[in-house]
């Protein structure tokens, strides 16, 4: 399984490069540059330097003792990506791609963002390296993640609102791809998740797989054995593939990806691509999509902007069909309850995205024995969501 994707960017039937001809040369150039950097020791040393001293890696693997007691089942470990600089795992990828853009002598980077975490991470990396940065964001997301919009602007990035479709992540990616098509000679597109045309799903997985490599070592050191379960939320799927990837060959380790159940699968207002979708092509890749009979992309809903997207990374589609990863969903209400639970029991406020993973742990842990071990990826911290949670609870700040 380590050999995927193939040279055409295929994960079995999924992936590929469905982009306009204008972008093809740039995508091939990016692939070449990345393959070269990947086996260049100088690049890896530089990346490791920034991940250690700037991002703050390795992030801890924390035993959530009170949550474990409360759920009275399996031992629960939190992979603390929320402690990364800028507050989420997104920076692992942004640093990698911005370093690559610098090697490719690009002066400008663009990004899309849903929850704002990838936008903040990219604006941060761009600020550090003195590059121009423009971030596309749906206006619906700008409203619910207003704090992150302001953070990006403080970092010197231009935030451009996208007033189309559902005004969320999907529409932001459309606009970022249009910008890239227009400015492809000077600009690198820093995609934020394991989506889009090859080489993005592979490259971003590689940058994020440090999460699982660390977690594997940490859990072995702590428990002397591998975990029984890995749990992570799946929007595009970068934090989940990041955690899972180092364990894929460990047959005994079960993996659960948690999609956004929104108002419930039966309501139709959700972003559960595996439960409600079928394969198709969006944003350059063949993968499971929420779409109608005519192939039009459906509007999605989730309380968490970072999971509110109609497609899932193609590598996830591959592992879904291969039955290697199980995919489930948590509703808005379940995620909000998990947000409260982790905040009160552990004093850790998760991002609403990560709260979906915690919600699955709430269901899973009590069904397991005390000897079992669950590692859950706490992909981001919840500071950005405080205003949104207050709004939902009817509290005026």
């Amino acid at each position: 399984m380590a050999t995927i994707p193939d040279q055409h960017g295929r994960f079995g039937a999924y992936g590929g490069r469905y982009v306009p001809e204008t972008l093809m040369p740039a995508i091939l150039e990016l692939e070449q540059a990345y393959l070269k950097a990947r086996c260049d020791r100088a690049f890896q040393v530089e990346l490791a330097h920034y991940l250690t001293l700037y991002v703050g890696r390795p992030t801890p693997l924390y035993f959530a003792e009170r949550l474990t007691k409360r759920l009275s089942g399996a031992k629960i470990y939190l992979k603390r990506e929320d402690l990364c600089h800028t507050g989420a795992h997104k920076i692992n990828n942004s640093i990698g791609q911005v370093l690559l853009a610098r090697r490719m002598k690009k002066k400008r980077v663009i990004a899309e963002t849903g929850a704002g975490q990838h936008g903040v991470a990219t604006a941060t990396a761009a600020a550090m390296f003195g590059m121009a940065c423009e971030v596309y964001m749906g206006t619906e997301d700008m409203q619910r993640q207003a704090l992150n919009v302001f953070r990006m602007r403080l970092l010197g990035a231009t935030v451009t609102g996208v007033e189309a479709g559902s005004r969320t992540l999907k529409d932001a990616i459309n606009e970022a791809m249009r910008d890239w098509t227009t400015n492809v000679r000077t600009t690198n597109y820093i995609l934020g998740s394991v989506l889009g045309p090859h080489p993005y799903p592979m490259m971003i997985r590689d940058f994020q797989s440090i999460i699982g490599r660390e977690a594997r070592k940490q859990v072995l050191a702590e428990q002397g054995r591998l975990p029984d379960y890995l749990v992570a939320c799946v929007g595009g799927g970068s934090n989940s593939i990041g955690l899972f990837h180092a364990f894929l060959k460990d047959r005994g380790v079960r993996m659960v990806g948690v999609e956004a159940g929104g108002l419930g699968l039966e309501s139709g207002k959700h972003a559960a691509r595996f439960a409600g979708g079928r394969p198709g092509v969006l944003h350059g890749t063949m993968t499971y999509l929420l779409q109608d009979d005519d192939g039009q992309i459906n509007l999605t809903h989730s309380v968490s902007a970072g999971l509110d997207y109609a497609a899932v990374g193609p590598e996830h589609s591959f592992y879904h069909d291969a039955d290697r990863i199980r995919y489930t969903s948590a509703t808005d209400d379940e995620a909000l309850a998990a947000f409260d639970l982790l905040t009160c029991e552990e004093g850790i406020m998760p991002a609403l995205e990560s709260a979906h993973a915690v919600a699955e742990v709430v269901k899973l842990a009590p069904r397991l024995k005390k000897k079992h071990v669950i590692v859950v990826n706490l992909s981001g911290r919840g500071d950005k969501d405080v205003q949104q949670v207050a709004r939902i609870k009817g509290v005026t700040l």
Binding site: Y18, V19, E21, G165, R178, V281
Partner: protein, 266 residues
């Protein structure tokens, strides 16, 4: 003989260039589209491209995005477009080319799509988000049914890609005049001329140029360097502005007539 091939051959015999008009199917309704196709033909269009509306058109600028939204609001789908084409075929033999994003075709199934499209009377297909590398399922199905699969080249394309696309494009080859999306402004005509000349050296099929051609002057200049001139956003903008006007057909017809006249005079 395929209507596209026949049309280019006829025009070549007369020393003329093809005027290729793009409209969004179903904008503002499929009934309007049927009328507009006939109007465009009378106004001098040699080939008509029908856009298939898609919810996420990454290669299109705001004008065609809005048109796709109008078309989707009026309930347009690929199936219904093929129905309309079938009806149109009793009244016109003008070459019709569909421009469809890959997912709308994939939803129907590549093989089934080609069969149904040709049965309805479609002659060619452009898929803006499908480079030749991803044409695996579609290319043989198109070849088998005689549907001309038209590939694109862009200013960023390398010599290797130019050769590949020239070898595989059928009907004609679509040269994207600028590095950008539909409706952008054409600024470097000399660059277009140089690239079209390079393509013509390796392509057996006619080369048509699209993107950024908005005025009679643009059309005349591009006619001087390519076998075909494709105008999309400028026509779609007329449709958008006059969509609720009883004179919609006349306005669009007059506009296209002015472009075609300028091409002939060039």
């Amino acid at each position: 003989m395929n209507r596209i091939d026949a049309t280019f051959e006829r025009l070549r015999g007369k020393g003329e260039k093809a005027f290729i008009a793009y409209i969004m199917a179903g904008d503002p309704s499929l009934q309007d589209t049927e009328t507009l196709v006939l109007v465009l033909e009378r106004a001098g269009a040699d080939v008509i491209e029908l856009g298939v509306p898609f919810s996420d058109p990454i290669a299109d600028g705001p004008v065609i995005q809005r048109a796709a939204e109008r078309a989707l609001r009026s309930g347009t789908s690929l199936r219904k477009i093929l129905q309309a084409v079938k009806t149109l075929r009793t009244r016109t033999q003008i070459p019709l080319v569909l421009m469809a994003y890959y997912n709308t075709i994939h939803a129907l199934g590549e093989g089934a799509f080609c069969k149904q499209a040709v049965e309805a009377g479609i002659d060619g297909l452009i898929v803006p988000d499908m480079p030749p590398e991803e044409a695996g399922p579609l290319e043989p199905a198109a070849a088998e049914t005689g549907l001309r699969l038209i590939f694109l080249l862009a200013p960023t394309s390398t010599a290797v890609r130019r050769n590949m696309v020239a070898r595989r494009s059928r009907g004609f080859l679509y040269y994207v005049s600028l590095t950008g999306i539909t409706g952008a402004k054409l600024t470097d005509l000399a660059d277009v001329g140089r690239n079209v000349a390079k393509i013509r050296r390796v392509a057996d099929v006619p080369v048509a140029v699209g993107f950024g051609i908005a005025t009679a002057q643009d059309a005349a200049q591009v006619a001087g360097i390519a076998d075909g001139v494709i105008v999309g956003s400028a026509i779609v903008r007329q449709v958008g502005e006059h969509q609720n006007h009883p004179g919609l057909a006349d306005r669009v017809g007059q506009f296209v007539q002015s472009l075609k006249a300028a091409m002939k005079a060039a």
